[in-house]
């Protein structure tokens, strides 16, 4: 039995301004952002091999099938890598800020902002939660929260991979 998806927390945009010009969802991405506004994480999932994918491609990157369904998936993720930016490139993101690439428990890797207390000192393997970040314009994007708890509870061991690859 795949894990039951839990409701996606919403986190309000805490930065300056509104970064709405930094998102231009194609029609393929619109259901994803609409679901985030509804506190759900959905991904295109292959009707043939059952693997979820990101970005929202018409064809499965794993088996090549063009048949898919949008499926609600679990919100956990595991931190693969991150970067701490020291450049002020756009006014909405004053440095320093963190960008993460995480492996979703639902399958694919995804890049997003890294938020939360654990973002002060991230470690590969940190347990993350996907959240819906609500921008002032009303747009919702996916971001990651690192509560910083997985290191204390799993000190010296690999974080739990339970729930991976539904």
């Amino acid at each position: 039995m795949p894990p039951v998806p839990t409701e996606l927390p919403t986190v309000d945009w805490a930065g300056p301004g509104d970064p709405q010009y930094l998102l231009r969802p194609s029609p393929d991405a619109e259901p994803f952002h609409a679901a985030l506004a509804d506190n759900r994480l959905i991904l295109r999932t292959c009707a043939s091999c059952s693997r979820a994918r990101y970005p929202h491609a018409p064809v499965c990157p794993y088996c090549g099938s063009p048949e898919y369904v949008w499926q609600e998936v679990v919100t956990g993720a595991r931190l693969l890598t991150w970067g701490r930016c020291h450049l002020g490139l756009v006014p909405e993101f004053p440095p320093p800020y963190l960008v993460a690439c995480a492996l979703l428990d639902a399958g694919p890797p995804m890049i997003g902002a890294l938020l939360g207390p654990g973002a002060a000192e991230p470690r590969p393997g940190d347990r993350l939660t996907v959240v819906a970040q609500r921008w002032p314009s009303g747009v919702h994007v996916a971001a990651f929260v690192d509560e910083g708890t997985s290191r204390r509870t799993n000190a010296g061991s690999t974080p739990s991979m339970s729930g991976a690859n539904t």
Partner: protein
């Protein structure tokens, strides 16, 4: 099909830098005139035009032909990204092999954008909002608006996956700076110590300032012909012995190895590069151990490690250890980016390294000359490669 090997007959370099007071047309013209003078071909000999960086930083092919007085019967121009340098030369090579043209001009001439990539004012900002994500895994909604983010994320993933000591990465930038000190055209002329490297400000951690290339404009022209024509000219022909193109797919990413998870659909699967079995080696009839010098795309320093691993110079995950102790210096076992590369000569979209391979194989590299250089290879993280040699077979 037209028989015969294809060679670089002429090479012209207008220089590198910001070119504040010069038009792109003037930069291009100086490079083309230098290439014609270099080999003795006439402007009217040129019938194929292969342009690398077009508008808005450079000239498009039609502008080049109009403004430089060229009569062209076959023109081609890829997407204006640095990754396509070898593809431009490869397309010219194919057109010559097929007999579609007799003399191909490969031209790279542009000025750096006034606004830095990553800012809204940058002419290339819009690309980060493509349907499939930015060309370097940019994710603007997360503030990842410039190429360096994808490179930084991939670098840390690589360090973690192969338990690489991050301090060892500095050997790449340090080696290339040592070479640049012997190159009058290089933009970075200041000696750099390991302490200087380590003290440099972080850009996007784990990458520091000197892990990032130096923004630059460039003007480089190559003239390619078939062997019979190239033989009678001023310079010894430098033969193109093999070419393979850019690889692309769900698990390819410009700034990382396949399957690292950054800019790829998968993460964590075993990565087994073809290494010495890459088709370019079979075409050229050589092995990696025959390569006298390597040029590779170094927008960011870890790309050098990934290229060495992809093309079989060392094992996967061993690149950082392998480049220690001067191994990639001009006097090392495998000289890499001997002009200083994009990290120190300037971000020439690979053309500085290509001009350097030509100069080295001709024995014209002066203070930087690699002893008895007969085979030079261009290769990138994305899998494209050209093998150049003094001999046609």
């Amino acid at each position: 099909m037209s028989a015969g090997a294809v060679a670089v007959a002429g090479c012209g370099v207008a220089g590198y830098g910001r070119f504040l007071d010069e038009s792109v047309a003037s930069i291009a013209s100086r490079a083309v005139t230098a290439a014609l003078d270099d080999c003795g071909l006439e402007r009217s000999d040129i019938d194929g035009l292969f342009v690398h960086i077009g508008n808005p930083r450079g000239l498009d092919y039609d502008e080049v032909a109009k403004l430089l007085g060229l009569q062209i019967t076959l023109a081609a121009q890829p997407w204006s990204h640095g990754r396509f340098g070898a593809t431009v030369i490869g397309n010219a090579w194919m057109a010559l092999k097929l007999g579609l043209v007799d003399c191909a001009l490969c031209l790279a001439a542009w000025k750096p954008a006034a606004a830095r990539g990553g800012t809204r004012e940058s002419s290339i900002f819009d690309e980060t909002l493509r349907e499939g994500g930015g060309p370097h895994a940019e994710a603007p909604h997360a503030g990842a608006v410039a190429p360096v983010f994808g490179a930084a994320l991939a670098t840390r993933a690589y360090f973690d996956r192969y338990a690489v000591d991050p301090e060892k990465l500095g050997a790449v930038a340090l080696s290339q700076r040592r070479s640049a000190l012997r190159n009058p055209l290089a933009l970075m002329h200041k000696e750099m110590t390991a302490a200087d490297y380590a003290a440099a400000r972080p850009i996007v951690e784990p990458l520091r300032l000197f892990d990032c290339s130096v923004p630059s404009g460039a003007g480089v022209a190559l003239l390619l012909t078939r062997e019979d024509r190239a033989r009678g000219l001023r310079q010894a022909p430098i033969f193109i012995r093999g070419f393979q193109g850019i690889h692309a797919g769900p698990d390819e990413f410009i700034f990382g190895q396949p399957n690292l998870g950054v800019g790829t659909a998968s993460a964590g699967q075993a990565y087994v590069p073809l290494g010495p079995d890459e088709p370019v080696y079979r075409q050229a009839g050589i092995a990696p151990s025959d390569v006298d010098l390597l040029g590779c795309y170094d927008g960011f320093s870890p790309q050098v490690l990934w290229t060495l691993e992809r093309f079989g110079f060392c094992d996967v995950g061993e690149g950082a250890e392998w480049v220690q102790d001067g191994r990639i210096d001009i006097e090392g076992a495998l000289p890499v980016n001997t002009s200083g590369g994009q990290l120190s000569e300037g971000h020439t979209n690979g053309w500085g390294a290509t001009a350097e391979i030509v100069a080295q194989l001709r024995g014209q590299a002066g203070e930087r000359q690699v002893a008895a250089a007969a085979v030079g290879q261009w290769a990138t993280t994305l899998g494209d490669s050209i093998i150049y040699a003094t001999s046609p077979n």
